[in-house]
Symmetry: C2
């Protein structure tokens, strides 16, 4: 292996490590959600005004707008967060610092279970991988 190739691998990290780190972020989000810890769940998202979220035919831009949306839907009067689970996760690295994640989500609440698919773009920042784009649908 040339020194240049080795330097590139050292700089961008091994793909397997990246996928493991990305799955770790999602696992942490699920664990936080299931403890009712919305702040912990939100830590998986890019804390930026450019974060983009699409769900239920509507979009929200910015970390604060998304947090308010989650609070309204899951923490309002008579609402519950329920139990969140992801399945059929697929992580595809698109570059050394961006990946596409698709999967199924399901939230089991007392009276109903809702679920569907999600498409995420995650990017690598100095603080780690964060979700920068989330398209969730039922």
């Amino acid at each position: 292996m040339s020194h240049l190739a080795l330097a590139v691998i050292l700089a961008i990290g091994a793909p397997a490590d990246d996928e493991k780190a990305i799955r770790g972020v999602l696992d942490a989000q699920v664990a936080a959600w299931n403890k009712g810890d919305l702040a912990g769940f939100m830590a998986g998202y890019w804390n930026s005004d450019k974060l983009f979220y699409i769900s239920g035919g509507k979009s929200a831009q910015g970390w604060k707008a998304l947090k308010e949306r989650y609070e309204k839907i899951y923490q309002g009067e008579g609402k519950e967060m329920g139990k969140l689970a992801f399945s059929e996760l697929n992580v595809e690295l698109l570059s050394g610092d961006a990946a596409l994640v698709r999967g199924k989500w399901e939230v089991t609440m007392t009276k109903e279970t809702v679920g569907g698919w999600f498409t995420l773009i995650v990017k690598k920042f100095p603080v780690g991988w964060k979700v920068t784009h989330d398209h969730t649908s039922k």
Copy 2:
């Protein structure tokens, strides 16, 4: 500018050209759809068994499966393709050969108008940019 930097730019192309090419693929899809040319519309998708499509709570994998889905929904008995329009398009290059596209879609038919958001991943192939992942929702 160093020779290396120049070589990298020549190899991956200028970002503005990539965005223009990606928008060109979407424009061609809309034009094809509005002529009732489903084959032309499908030409914007990666012709692969790995193409992934999410819509209406369901997923379809592979170019053929997606084509059959469109034929069933828009070309079946009593169905119509209507007029397709995209808006609020945003193209974000993630690397030299991958980009995230988000936008709104609307199909105007004789009796109703349907629409929502989409999230696409497009990748650069020798034949040009193609959609490899499509998450469309109402």
